[in-house]
């Protein structure tokens, strides 16, 4: 019974289980997404192959890249066939690029077509759109012209021009099916003889290129290599001469010059700026290198008066060795500072005065160097600038004009006296020099060596003497500030000092030094005889030698007797020296373009300009 009872229970359980499993879970219906169907036709699209939109001209195996524009829909599929043979099959999920290769090797010359099918999404957002089952289909027939004839030699006519962006190169295009590329080559004949490819262009219709990486300010050569499957051809080189720009200089009265220029536009190739200056275009006295491409200024420290100073600027490209710098091109300017004072031929220092006389042929100026001021002038009509003399005390000056001597006060330029001089024109002579003494005497020497001694007070001729030495007329002569001594230089090369006596000129002594200039001391007790290579100081009464020193390699230019200094040239071109008049000690060495200048304390004056030197100790 128990067994039968349990069998009944099991039967019940099975029935229940079967009943339960009949109640299996059933999912609910899907909601409908209410989106609109897309238009039947998609937007027009544009396809370009290697940026071309017309017939493909091909002669050799060539890779194409295509772009599809005009639609923002997803490109699902692209199929390209050439003469029925599928050569490209793009499927969006295959991570392909829009690139295919067309090889016409097996086709003869002629016209063909590329059959292109493009499937884009509709963009409706529907399930079919998302799975690529709802598409717009575009069919294109793209004409292809196969020409496997190898090209004739193609010469590219190349021109170059400067633009803001760089150097624009344009050449004759080579629009041929066998075109592969243009290669633009560049080299610099003066420092880079191996041409370097700067651009490769694969579009035959792109026949221009802008080189923005060139080394500036250089002579550049370019040529174009046209590459075809059969080889390449190269056109003629062209030479382009680039220039740096904006080089300017401003002179400073302390002998420096500030130089500026336009910055280089190509810091990529910049190595350094090379600035140098000199008084010859082939030589230089100062050079500087600037390695900061943003620094476009420099200060030249040895500009002197600056006038006529050549200033050069070069762009040194990276990696160019220094021995090639001279080969590089550059730009140059010549500095001409503006005049600060009148232009003149000759200047006279005046003992005991803080001004100078500046002598031009038609005007004499009174000039205060310390103030850079001209406060007075007179008009004159001089034949030579050396027809002017200043007394030893600086109070009078004399000049010879139209056979008359004029004696004027240096204080106010008033005429102290005016009298007739020797009739040199009648005698067919010219005036060599004239000298005025502090005691009112004027001594003149003509071109035949005749000396004339005048009393300036009344213009009377005291003496007239033929100044012959050993039969040779005097070349140069002068009198002392006190009017009692005369020194002459003979054509034979002797220098003789005379004393004035009632009986005439009496020789005191002589030396064989060939003087370049004389300078009597203010008290007339001594005379400085400045030769070509030596300076002798002699006693004016006995002509005995007091001191002597050499002028190393140079010769006398001018003196500043009030401050006891002499300015002379040296044995080095453009180098000048200031020496102590008494000892010959070197006080200063200067680099100047011209030694035609006069020293006034620490000021150096030349025609139109004045240089301020550091103070002397």
């Amino acid at each position: 019974m128990i067994l039968i009872h349990r069998l009944r229970i099991s039967l019940w359980l099975c029935l229940l289980a079967g009943l339960f499993t009949g109640c299996e879970y059933q999912p609910h219906e899907l909601p409908v997404n209410d989106i609109d169907q897309p238009p039947a036709d998609g937007p027009p699209i544009v396809m370009s192959l290697n940026d071309m939109n017309d017939t493909i001209r091909i002669g050799w195996k060539r890779e194409f890249h295509y772009d599809i524009t005009g639609t923002d829909k997803r490109i699902n599929y692209v199929n390209i066939a050439f003469e029925g043979e599928i050569i490209h099959n793009y499927v969006i999920d295959n991570q392909q690029t829009f690139t295919f290769t067309l090889d016409p090797a097996e086709y003869s010359n002629g016209n063909y077509h590329l059959n292109i099918s493009i499937f884009t999404s509709t963009g409706s957002g529907s399930i079919a759109d998302k799975v690529g089952a709802e598409v717009y289909i575009y069919e294109l027939d793209w004409p292809v012209y196969v020409d496997k004839t190898l090209p004739e030699y193609s010469n590219s006519y190349l021109v170059a021009a400067h633009s803001e962006a760089g150097i624009d190169l344009t050449w004759t295009s080579f629009d041929h099916p066998n075109f592969i590329s243009y290669i633009v080559y560049r080299y610099y004949p003066f420092f880079q003889s191996e041409p370097v490819a700067v651009a490769t262009i694969t579009d035959p219709l792109q026949n221009s290129f802008t080189d923005s990486t060139f080394c500036e300010g250089q002579i550049i050569r370019y040529f174009i290599r046209t590459v075809t499957p059969a080889g390449y051809s190269e056109g003629q080189d062209i030479v382009f001469s680039d220039q740096l720009h904006g080089l300017r200089a401003t002179w400073n009265s302390n002998g420096t010059a500030d130089v500026t220029w336009d910055k280089a536009r190509n810091p990529e190739s910049f190595g350094k700026y090379y600035i140098y200056s000199g008084y010859r275009s082939t030589d230089f006295i100062e050079e500087q290198f600037i390695e900061d491409p943003d620094q476009n200024h420099a200060r030249l420290l040895n500009a002197g008066f600056g006038s006529g100073l050549y200033i050069f600027l070069k762009f040194i490209p990276k990696g160019v060795p220094s021995e090639l710098y001279r080969n590089l091109s550059g730009i140059e300017i010549t500095l001409y500072p503006q005049a600060m004072l009148p232009r003149f031929y000759y200047a006279h220092n005046l003992n005991g005065h803080d001004f100078m006389l500046l002598v031009d042929l038609d005007k004499i100026y009174r000039y205060f160097p310390g103030q850079v001021l001209t406060d007075n002038s007179i008009s004159v009509d001089l034949e030579q600038y050396w027809h002017v003399s200043v007394s030893g005390d600086g109070n009078r000056f004399a000049y010879y004009q139209n056979e008359e001597f004029f004696i004027r006060s240096t204080e106010d330029f008033s005429i102290v006296s005016q009298f007739q001089g020797p009739p040199l024109k009648t005698l067919n002579r010219t005036l060599a020099r004239c000298f005025i003494s502090d005691n009112g005497r004027l001594f003149a020497v003509d071109s035949e060596g005749y000396g004339y001694l005048y009393n300036t007070t009344d213009g009377t001729l005291i003496r007239e003497d033929p100044l012959n030495i050993g039969g040779y007329p005097a070349k140069l002569a002068g009198i002392s500030p006190d009017g009692t001594k005369m020194i002459i230089l003979s054509a034979s090369g002797e220098t003789i000092l005379y004393n004035f006596t009632p009986g005439g000129w009496t020789e005191i002594g002589r030396t064989d030094i060939q003087p370049f200039g004389y300078l009597f001391s203010k008290d007339s007790r001594s005379i400085y005889i400045i030769g070509m290579t030596t300076l002798e100081k002699r006693d004016a009464w006995s002509f005995s030698l007091i001191t002597e020193f050499s002028l190393p390699g140079g010769y006398f230019r001018s003196t500043d007797p009030d401050h006891g200094r002499i300015f002379c040239a040296s044995d080095k071109e453009f180098e000048y020296k200031i020496l102590d008049l008494e000892t010959g000690r070197l006080l200063r060495t200067l680099t100047l373009g011209s030694g035609w200048c006069w020293l006034y304390d620490n000021l150096l004056i030349t025609s139109g300009l004045q240089l301020t030197l550091p103070e002397f100790e």
């Binding site: 229970i9 359980l13 289980a17 009943l19 109640c23 899907l30 529907s126 399930i127 799975v131």
Partner: protein
């Protein structure tokens, strides 16, 4: 002491919740893999379950029984528009066969309150169905999977006698599914993995039910 039946049968139906985290993750994976946005229609929502059991007394306050429970749930994700539809369904059925010892907590002439803990073998059957129908063309794919797990189901059971043979039966409890690895039905080694971790069943949830109790025999 009122008289008690020696053997009792219960038949009941009720309402249950299901965690099913692993299978929900499977829906997420499918959702990410399709190229369109889809929505969730059903997601292992709370549903009915059914059961039957037989109990007998061992001692005065200790009973033991044999139980069977059938649970069913599922999910649907998908989309439908003018061009067609797509759905991915999971239908999950569970068959629990277990032993259920219980303690009579209180018994009067009007009711009996029992605390029981059931455990046994939980057989899960899973059917997935993926359908894509676009422009009249339909593609379908079905997979059948299964899993075995051991649950623990503590519950409170209340029986209220109607007469000597029939009682009303009420039960409430919480099932804990220890989780069984889901694998292809005919290949236990082909385990379903997501991100390298096996997908497990998740019948865990509250259960409440009501039914009839048939009392046989008397002590």
């Amino acid at each position: 002491m009122p008289a008690l039946s020696q053997v009792s049968f219960q038949v009941y139906g009720g309402f249950a919740t299901f965690k099913m985290d692993g299978l929900k993750d499977l829906n997420g994976l499918v959702e990410e893999s399709v190229p369109f946005d889809i929505s969730t229609v059903d997601n292992f929502d709370p549903g009915f379950y059914f059961g039957a059991s037989a109990h007998t007394a061992l001692f005065s306050n200790l009973i033991v029984g044999l139980s069977y429970q059938y649970s069913t749930t599922g999910s649907r994700i998908g989309i439908k528009d003018y061009s067609g539809y797509y759905n991915f369904d999971q239908i999950v059925n569970g068959h629990l066969l277990g032993i259920e010892p219980g303690v009579i907590m209180e018994e009067t002439s009007k009711y009996r309150l029992v605390f029981s803990v059931m455990s046994g073998a939980l057989f899960t059957m899973i059917k997935t169905e993926e359908v894509l129908s676009v422009s009249g063309q339909k593609e379908e794919d079905q997979e059948y999977m299964s899993a075995f797990s051991i649950p623990v189901y503590p519950s409170i059971n209340l029986s209220i006698p109607v007469n000597d043979f029939i009682s009303g039966y009420f039960s409430a409890g919480y099932m804990v599914d220890t989780g069984g690895k889901v694998h292809l039905r005919d290949n236990r080694d082909a385990v379903l993995n997501i991100d390298g971790y096996p997908v497990k069943t998740g019948w865990t949830g509250f259960r409440i039910s009501a039914g009839l109790q048939l009392n046989l025999g008397r002590r």
